[in-house]
Subunit: 276 residues, 2 copies
């Protein structure tokens, strides 16, 4: 019962007071319930961790990326397997090995409801912040400004779902020479990034400290925090950053670029890595 | 300790390989913790309901709009007052009257963590759906297509924070003649809509069945569900709708318009209310 990422519909298009019935495509949005199975002192436990509204596709990446960027799992070798529950493509179970020790929030052990928006469902304001296993450290990354000019065009060429629906976010990785590496798309930008990081997590490609992360929209707190969790050092967003996104970028020594459009962009932190 | 919605920063602007240091403005993003005080059989209770990343401003509207669109409170006269907690502008407490009976999710009475993203933190997929106290019913609303052409320009004229930061969502109400009524802005589009609905809730202006809701971005499931909770019949989005947004619109008899740009738009449901 695999779900498609795009739905085909009939739409009434209005243009200059003329109406026409046309075929169109929409980005599919469906809930995904992420559960975790692990070994506790009392035996095997299954626990619902989160529900997120996502575009179907790469659900294993999404689930494992979410668990990693939330600090719940740390290593791909802790993951035994990831199962889409029979009869329901909107439920996924991540099973950890016997000896894995997930970091579940202490006070909500019986029912964790942390969410994919990276913040919602957290117990308190203090618990919003996660701690990366890849702390800031010195590097000698130096990138020419021109390298960034082509990233957006390169992204668009890869972004099939956006092309079809006009309603989907993308997160993409490029290497430090500006070559495209990988893309994930979703109606939720946090999901797109979790899918991208989850794919790297499952492939043992973390930390992503030699990659550029390109975001198709704005850069919010949660996206920068997820990037920090994955050890990413360069984040470029097509849209605006928020105040807290800039703070997180500075805290983790991340170069944060915003308003990336053709030959223009703004640097909000880590300008030392960009040369003219 | 009131917080500002806009932060002033220094930014390095790159244009065609030239760099300049300039003053710029960012949309502020800060967590808001929403708590509820109510009378239970055992006496007065205080309970954290949600944390949402929001742009400071209209926090009372946001808190009450969130509680209403989540189906937790139903009437403004249940609200005794709304208090910003002393010493912390990021915590707000909504106090209900003695005789108010909030609808808290049954299984999470001890610690509700429902979130402002409308979905995150919910216990199960079934619990994602809320039920509006304003069920669909017949109406004779008929709007000329041209009325929609001017809405976006009208929104832009009102959208001060977007003007300054380029990084903020808006939700606005217009009357059925297309005249601007009210606007709320936020880094989170669900928050912008909760602020708008919360303002109407506190003013006893619900249901909003004689208003047009204009969304500055895409139309997702949660936004349509919140609109349905407020009895809104006409929703126009500048961006794309998702598949589930269209489903909710059809279920509640909402006219849903997307890709509203100058003299063009698409009608995804409720086309009978639009005349050429």
């Amino acid at each position: 019962m695999e779900q498609q990422p795009v739905a085909h519909i009939k739409v009434t298009k209005i243009h200059a007071a003329l109406a026409s019935e046309e075929d169109d495509q929409l980005a599919v949005e469906q809930p995904l319930e992420i559960s975790l199975e692990y070994t506790a002192p009392g035996g095997r436990m299954q626990q619902r961790i989160s529900i997120t509204m996502r575009t179907p596709g790469n659900d294993e990446d999404l689930a494992s990326g979410f668990l990693f960027t939330e600090g719940i799992t740390r290593q791909a070798n802790e993951v035994l397997d990831i199962i889409v529950l029979p009869g329901d493509a909107n439920r996924v179970l991540v099973r950890l090995r016997e000896d894995a020790a997930p970091s579940l929030p202490a006070s909500t052990k019986s029912f964790v409801t942390t969410s994919a928006c990276g913040v919602c469902g957290k117990e308190s304001i203090d618990s919003i912040r996660t701690v990366s296993i890849y702390p800031p450290q010195g590097d000698a990354i130096c990138l020419k400004a021109e390298l960034f000019y082509e990233l957006q065009n390169s992204l668009r060429r890869q972004q099939q779902l956006f092309e079809n629906t006009g309603g989907i976010h993308a997160a993409a990785l490029f290497d430090l020479q500006g070559s495209f590496l990988q893309l994930r798309e979703d109606v939720g930008r946090h999901n797109a990034l979790d899918k991208l990081i989850g794919a790297a997590f499952l492939d043992n490609r973390l930390p992503l400290n030699n990659s550029i992360l390109l975001l198709s929209g704005r850069a919010s707190f949660e996206l920068l925090q997820k990037a920090a969790m994955a050890g990413i050092k360069i984040v470029a967003a097509v849209g605006a950053p928020s105040s807290l996104a800039v703070e997180v970028a500075k805290e983790y020594g991340i170069t944060l670029i915003g308003f990336l459009r053709n030959e223009r962009f703004n640097i909000y932190s880590g300008a030392q890595r960009i040369s003219l």
